[in-house]
């Protein structure tokens, strides 16, 4: 609410103007700065968002490596969320945080399954979700996931009708503590078992080539091309 008592007179208009004219601050100082920025912000920040705030000449990527190892094993950890970084409490201390625990809205079984299908098969169309679940995606399911900002629209599929696709978001990764979509549990096994392939029903020979090329398979396999 108020400034902490030992704050110096806040007359540092644009620090970026003066000290950075000559050289970037030392790495330890860059680490401090990033620590403060990430600490102040509740949402993950990308490398470029962090760099924007630092004086010119800083190497945010390198400072982050140091900062990350410094927080290793501590009560608060530096985690990676997609292309972004955030400070989060260590999961093993969850039991201490009873009072902070948020009552999250219970997701329906349909919503949970739909979310999982989108995460594992992304980018995926509504028709593909329905094909996998064997049932129509009911009203409000997609709506609810969009509202939670766990999914967003991807690129339209280049197949007849050009259907919209869905992909998971950074907020999804943040919520489930995932560094990237390729860290989804069991993803590799599912891929190897061929369970993430788009396999059209036998007899439908017109689409498979097109679809395989642009389909869910490519989406997730892209993630593995290192």
């Amino acid at each position: 609410m108020t400034d902490s008592p030992n704050a110096p007179p806040r007359s540092r208009p644009n620090a970026a103007d003066s000290p950075s004219l000559f050289a970037a601050p030392p790495l330890a100082e860059q680490e401090r700065m990033i620590e403060a920025i990430l600490f102040a912000c509740a949402t993950p920040l990308s490398l470029s968002q962090i760099s924007e705030r630092l004086p010119p000449g800083c190497d945010a990527a390198e400072a982050l490596v140091h900062l990350r190892s410094r927080y290793c094993g501590r009560g608060v950890n530096l985690v990676r969320v997609g292309d972004a970084y955030a400070l989060r409490t260590a999961p093993d201390l969850a039991w201490l945080m009873q009072t902070e625990r948020l009552e999250t809205r219970k997701l329906s079984r349909a919503a949970i399954e739909t979310l999982a299908i989108i995460a594992y098969h992304q980018p995926v169309t509504r028709a593909e979700i329905e094909e996998i679940r064997g049932v129509a995606v009911s009203r409000g399911t997609i709506d609810q996931l969009l509202e939670l900002e766990w999914i967003r629209l991807g690129r339209r599929r280049m197949t007849p009708g050009r259907p919209v696709t869905f992909v998971v978001t950074e907020a999804f990764l943040d919520h489930f503590g995932l560094e990237s979509a390729r860290d989804l549990p069991g993803l590799k096994e599912l891929r190897e078992a061929g369970l993430l392939d788009s396999r059209p029903p036998p007899g439908q020979t017109s689409l498979p080539d097109d679809e395989a090329e642009d389909g869910p398979e490519r989406g997730q396999s892209e993630l593995f091309e290192d």
Binding site: A42, L146, P201, P202
Partner: protein
């Protein structure tokens, strides 16, 4: 029914069977039912006996119908498809027939079931992960630091889509109207004709009643004739005018109905 074998197994089995019958809506569609059936069969989904499964499924639909539960079309489609698949599997393959074999269809069904099961498990594992706000936490008091106030306008994609949906919905309820200038509306023709009828004591050609500016260009004239003709029919029906046509395609004449 005196059932002397009330072991735990049979109780849970019966409860499950009951659930299948009574709680059709509890299932997430026909594939879900199949998955449940295949699980009670306790077989490897890869080697699932489609024949056995089809029989169980048809039995499910049969029992459900006996309870007069309305079955969703999806279930009946699946039942029909399973019956078809069963027949394909029982009959020796016809080499002249085109299309996928019974074995291919069965393999695909097994794939679908396995995939659905895998997604269920993946969903469970996903939800079992540490979750933000439950197992790990963001900064509880994000700092309000600078006094540098800047207003950011928030709008989500959902807001945007809803706004557009709202607008388009309103459009759907708006009475449909042509804004093309070459269309002479029926309502206008009826209003105009109603006003002119009291003066029409003698037989007059329909052409004479076309409004100014609607007699030249063929498209405009066609529209005006059509609307005016429709208006004459309405007025004739109401008993206000009489119509006369000497021959097919001959000019149409009208006059005020006399003796009223």
């Amino acid at each position: 029914m005196a059932d002397t074998f009330d072991t735990d197994d049979s109780i849970s089995a019966r409860r499950e069977a009951e659930a299948l019958i009574v709680d059709v809506d509890g299932f997430e569609g026909p594939l879900d039912v199949l998955l449940t059936l295949s699980r009670t069969q306790k077989v490897d989904l890869r080697r699932i006996s489609v024949l056995h499964l089809a029989e169980q499924y048809l039995g499910f639909v049969e029992r459900a119908r006996a309870l007069r539960i309305e079955l969703a079309a999806d279930y009946l489609v699946m039942a029909a498809w399973l019956a078809y698949l069963k027949s394909r599997l029982l009959l020796p393959p016809d080499p002249t027939e085109e299309g996928p074999s019974g074995a291919e269809l069965a393999a695909h069904l097994a794939f679908q079931l396995e995939r659905l099961q895998a997604m269920r498990e993946a969903a469970a594992r996903l939800m079992g992960r540490d979750q933000k706000g439950r197992d790990f936490f963001a900064r509880g008091a994000p700092e309000a630091l600078a006094v540098n106030r800047k207003t950011v306008f928030e709008a989500s994609l959902l807001d945007l889509m809803r706004a557009y949906a709202r607008l388009r919905t309103r459009d759907e309820f708006r009475p449909y109207a042509f804004d093309r200038s070459d269309i002479y509306p029926y309502e206008a023709a009826l209003a105009r004709l109603s006003k002119l009828v009291p003066g029409a004591a003698d037989w007059t050609s329909l052409q004479a009643y076309l409004p100014e500016g609607w007699r030249g260009a063929p498209a405009r004239q066609r529209s005006a004739i059509a609307s005016t003709f429709a208006a004459t029919l309405e007025l004739a029906k109401q008993g206000q005018i009489e119509l006369r046509q000497s021959d097919t395609f001959a000019p149409l004449h009208l006059r005020r109905k006399t003796g009223q």
